[in-house]
């Protein structure tokens, strides 16, 4: 399990610095701006269903503006999820309110898997800790990097 330790240590070094290095962003992560009418339920419905993994953050994956949003980014990174859509609610007040109304959830960040609202930072962390996140990602055809890591260690 030393691999986990190494990863976690690396994450610790980056903690609090706002993940400012460009290296944290996987090639597939799209920080998406939003157009007009961004707060409507129809628009949001399409938005959360467009990609398998969708997150609404304060800030961007490279530069989260809030510790809880950063935690979501870091958890996805730990699992090697690099292909997800990230929307910055600080760029768009309509989106910020609209997504809260859409999910009936009062806070940001918000995480959607396969169009379904999963929760915020606390729930994603809990899913990470109890292994549910690996299973949920598997259902989406995404193999968590932590599974590979465990396999590697088992074979040694």
């Amino acid at each position: 399990m030393s691999g986990s330790l190494g990863r976690a240590a690396a994450a610790l070094l980056r903690w609090g610095r706002g993940a400012s290095g460009g290296g944290l962003r996987g090639p597939g992560v799209r920080a998406v701006g939003s157009g007009g009418g961004s707060g409507s339920a129809e628009h949001l419905d399409a938005l959360v269903k467009k990609d398998k993994v969708v997150v609404f953050l304060k800030g961007t994956p490279e530069q989260p503006q809030c510790g809880f949003s950063n935690a979501v980014v870091q958890i996805l990174r730990l699992h090697g999820v690099s292909n997800y859509a990230a929307y910055n609610v600080l760029d768009d007040p309509q989106l910020r309110q609209g997504i809260k109304d859409y999910s009936n959830w009062p806070t940001i960040p918000q995480v959607y898997l396969n169009g379904e609202f999963v929760g915020g930072c606390d729930i994603l962390l809990q899913m990470h800790q109890n292994g549910d996140l690996v299973e949920e990602l598997k259902k989406l055809g995404i193999r968590s990097a932590l599974v590979d890591e465990t396999k590697d260690q088992d074979s040694k």
Partner: protein, 137 residues
């Protein structure tokens, strides 16, 4: 998963760093904190209710009541998903969440789950979103 525990530890380490530079949460209980406690007690009849004002770690004036973390331990959570549990907490605090409370970290546990790990975690450090002049509150 081990890495999960490690991330949990990161949170608590980071939180300690964060909170050490704050001033709020050091003893005095404000009206918002009191209201949160009363409402959660009434709504969920918790066995354990731990509440921490984490506002001091954020870019808000001393004595603010904007950022909280709560551990609610209640048998009402039996058989409910994390999402359903959090929604119960949100519903009890809808007034506060629509008003002064800007961030609420929630640990919603059943009594058995709490006994496994009876502690209020710490939140990750603030990254200063609201310090930016362009930022929204």
């Amino acid at each position: 998963m081990l890495s999960g525990q490690l991330v949990g530890r990161l949170f608590s380490m980071a939180g300690r760093v964060c909170l050490s530079r704050g001033s709020a949460g050091s003893g005095t209980i404000g009206p918002v904190e009191a209201a949160i406690r009363t409402k959660l007690e009434q709504a969920l009849n918790p066995e354990v209710l731990e509440l921490r004002n984490e506002s001091g770690g954020h870019a808000v004036p001393p004595g603010s009541e904007t950022h909280f973390r709560v551990a609610v331990v209640s048998s009402r959570f039996e058989g409910l998903s994390p999402l359903q549990r959090h929604r119960l907490v949100h519903a009890a605090l809808s007034e506060e969440l629509a008003g002064p409370v800007h961030a609420l970290a929630i640990q919603a546990r059943t009594p058995a789950q709490w006994r496994e790990n009876p502690q209020l975690d710490a939140s990750p450090p603030c990254l200063g979103g609201s310090k930016k002049t362009r930022g929204t509150p």
